[in-house]
């Protein structure tokens, strides 16, 4: 077993970079859409054979056991090379929760199946009446003999139509005094009569989001993770690392690179107004990266990140949107055209980038919610 954490940052980065550059299929780099598992299965097998499916998991569970500093490097290299994250809900969300709160039986059964992608997971959190106000969720799970019986609806369930299992937050005590109490964390199989999946067509015409309906669906009671009615605290405990990851500069940096080659090909830099707006965007990205580095250093020193890390997400997602809007401007009369636009020897899908940027200010806690958090937790404003 390699002790990656004992390596220098530079050596580790080199090792990760070399593996991605040598092994990751060229045609899958910077995929503009979320792939179904079949599309990336070949790559997943390579990653699995290498033992690199779960960089954050402890080695005893089949992970790489990376500390925060090394993990950041791993993700930076992944994004730099445009390596698709694959169907990583199991690795990112369920696995860590089972490792932290699950029983030995749950660990022995589920973790290897997550690594091998024998089970493919989707996340059942949001509901039509529980978006930003997630604790308002209503999907019920009631004990019936050895099973939970589930009734209700989940929405924005990414890739539910290509998943074998769902991990979900469900209401198990509707009479709890606070709505955050009475929520449990449950695992359930998708392939059963009581589960109905419908895809949602997005603005860009993709169908990666789904609605999932539960009509007396069943899951064995041993699929409860952690204590009954303690699901909310458990789910929140996982978000700490997610919060810096979601604010990483890579999306905006990649988009800026695309904008530059596209704008150059189109002659947009002849226009001084465009030059200034490009410079603004490029400097927004550079200075954001400096702030990101400050938070990353905090992690590297072993410190826990505070609520102020939310500012990374606000800045970078809004900057990403402005960059994709500049692409549309540079496209001129082609600004409404679907599909790749050819400029010289590069082709840029302007609309795909534009659409990709839109939900970034909505998901992972909308930017308005992030502003609420910063205003109360960081600035100490009342109310």
């Amino acid at each position: 077993m390699t002790d990656w954490n004992a390596m220098s940052d530079a050596d580790f980065r080199k090792e990760v970079r070399q593996f991605f550059e040598a092994e990751y299929p060229e045609e899958l780099r910077h995929l503009p859409h979320r792939p179904k598992f079949a599309e990336i299965e070949h790559w997943h097998r390579k990653l699995h054979a290498k033992g690199w499916v779960a960089p954050a998991w402890p080695a005893e569970y089949g992970g790489m056991g990376l500390n925060a500093a090394k993990l950041l490097i791993f993700y930076e290299e992944q994004q730099r090379w445009g390596v698709n994250r694959g169907r990583d809900m199991g690795v990112q969300m369920v696995g860590p929760l089972i490792i932290k709160f699950g029983t030995q039986e749950q660990k022995d059964y589920w973790l290897p199946r997550i690594l091998s992608c024998e089970d493919i997971w989707c996340q059942g959190y949001s509901e039509p009446g529980a978006g930003s106000d997630l604790a308002n969720l209503r999907t019920r799970a009631e004990i019936d003999g050895d099973d939970f019986v589930i009734n209700g609806q989940k929405i924005w369930t990414t890739m539910a139509h290509d998943a074998t299992h769902i991990f979900m937050l469900v209401r198990t005590d509707p009479d709890a005094p606070k709505k955050q109490q009475g929520i449990s964390f449950l695992l359930a199989p998708m392939e059963q009569p009581g589960v109905d999946v419908r895809t949602i067509t997005t603005l860009s015409g993709e169908t990666e989001f789904c609605e999932v309906f539960f009509d007396n669906a069943r899951t064995p009671s041993e699929n409860l993770v952690g204590e009954l009615n303690k699901g909310w605290t458990m789910a929140k405990a996982l978000l700490s690392f997610e919060r810096i990851f979601i604010g990483s500069p890579s999306l905006a940096q990649n988009a800026l690179g695309q904008l530059e080659s596209f704008a150059r090909g189109r002659g947009a830099f002849d226009d001084p107004v465009f030059r200034d707006r490009f410079a603004q965007a490029a400097l927004d990205v550079e200075d954001h990266a400096a702030l990101y580095a400050r938070f990353a250093d905090q992690l590297k020193r072993g410190e826990t990140l505070g609520a102020d890390v939310s500012m990374l997400k606000i800045w970078v997602t809004e900057c990403f949107q402005r960059i994709t809007e500049l692409m549309i401007e540079a496209a001129g009369p082609d600004g409404g055209t679907i599909g790749p636009l050819q400029v010289g020897n590069v082709s840029v899908d302007v609309l795909a980038s534009f659409y990709k940027a839109r939900p970034t200010t909505i998901y992972g806690g909308s930017n308005e919610i992030q502003r609420n958090i910063l205003s109360k937790a960081v600035l100490g404003l009342p109310g």
């Binding site: 490009f278 410079a279 400096a290 702030l291 580095a293 500012m311 600035l379 009342p382 109310g383």
Partner: protein, 374 residues
């Protein structure tokens, strides 16, 4: 010592420097002192200059073998940020960046070096000239036979300084000379600035001056010193922005309307968050630039970095001080409240050495030139 240890001990040194600079400025009277000096006629306080010198402030970026502390521009940035926080009118960036920036590169043995580091004198740097339309133009001020003739514009610290470091033209090449403020033939036309300070328009007619250096080295040293001062002015604006934000945050927490603090209204909260985020991005960006400039030797790259810093700092300071006035409401528009002092200082520091639009242009052109060269 490992590399990480070195980095963290440097960080520790900067932290201590920041603490002592902050204490010094606060003990002297904080931003209230700036108001008093403005009302008294808009000059800086020579006693404060000496106190700052005793704390080692002016020599921070001067190498140890030249009598300084050798802590680099990053340390200069710490001082500039702290000066910005209390809108101190003393020539901190002028001395660290421009005056000492020129002398240490061109004539480190000159006695004025020690006097500047010791806070005994202040020297203004006269390097720009105004063309017929009023905009910056090429140098025409001449130096011949030990005498200086011509005009210089936008001279910061022209009043209150004991002398001028003048970049002039001699036999078709650049020359740096030193003219005493009291020398014959010097006329200072003071242009009042928004913050109560003044810029000097200098005119020399046969003024006796001593040659310090000549040739291409003068142009090169000037470019470096201007880059240093530009990045330090950015740091000063970062400190100014931070404090203007803190004052505003305190105000919206205490000012009540509709029976509640106005900071409990979401529209105010979100604006406050946006200002805070801008502040943090600017602080991270500018500090990174200063650290990079300390490691970088290529003059073009250093100038481009300085432009990045000033562009960010000006955009941030403009937005924060203007929104700060808005969030204060009507009292923000009065001279009684300190927030206006910050707005006025931001106007002056933004215009000095180039504003954000100017520096984005310089930054972009440098990037293009670098791209073309590769």
């Amino acid at each position: 010592m490992t590399q990480t240890d070195t980095v963290s001990s440097e960080q520790e040194d900067l932290r201590l420097l920041r603490e002592s600079a902050r204490t010094l400025f606060e003990r002297a009277g904080g931003s209230g002192r700036a108001r008093k000096l403005r009302d008294a006629g808009g000059s800086f306080d020579p006693n404060m200059v000496r106190e700052l010198a005793e704390a080692g402030v002016f020599g921070v970026a001067v190498p140890e073998e030249q009598g300084g502390l050798g802590m680099g521009l990053a340390a200069g940035g710490v001082i500039a940020e702290e000066a910005g926080r209390v809108i101190a009118p003393e020539p901190v960036v002028l001395t660290i960046g421009l005056s000492l920036g020129l002398l240490r590169r061109l004539c480190p043995e000159h006695p004025k070096m020690a006097q500047l580091i010791g806070g005994e004198v202040s020297l203004a740097v006269a390097w720009q000239e105004r063309g017929p339309g009023g905009a910056p133009a090429d140098a025409t001020c001449r130096y011949a036979d030990g005498r200086l003739t011509g005009n210089k514009a936008w001279v910061v610290g022209a009043t209150g300084s004991q002398g001028f470091l003048v970049v002039a033209e001699q036999d078709g090449g650049p020359v740096l000379v030193l003219a005493e403020a009291t020398a014959d033939g010097v006329v200072i036309d003071k242009r009042a600035q928004a913050d109560g300070s003044s810029l000097g328009e200098l005119s020399f007619s046969g003024t006796p001056a001593a040659e310090l250096a000549s040739g291409d080295a003068v142009q090169a040293a000037l470019a470096e010193a201007v880059a240093d001062a530009t990045a330090l002015a950015a740091a000063e604006l970062v400190g100014l922005s931070e404090c203007a934000f803190e004052i505003t945050l305190e105000y919206i927490k205490t000012r009540e309307q509709f029976d509640k603090p106005i900071g409990s209204f979401q529209v105010i909260q979100h604006r406050a968050v946006d200002l805070n985020v801008m502040c943090e991005v600017a602080q991270a960006g500018v500090r990174e630039v200063l650290a990079l400039m300390d490691r970088e030797t290529d003059q073009k790259v250093r100038a481009q970095l300085a432009s990045r810093a000033k562009a960010r700092a000006v955009t941030t300071a403009k937005r924060i001080t203007r929104d700060a006035v808005q969030l204060h409401g009507a009292v923000g528009y009065t001279d009684d409240f300190d927030i206006g002092l910050y707005l006025n200082r931001a106007l002056v520091l933004s215009a000095w050495l180039g504003d954000d639009a100017y520096h984005r242009r310089i930054w972009f052109d440098a990037r293009e030139a670098e791209g073309a060269a590769q």
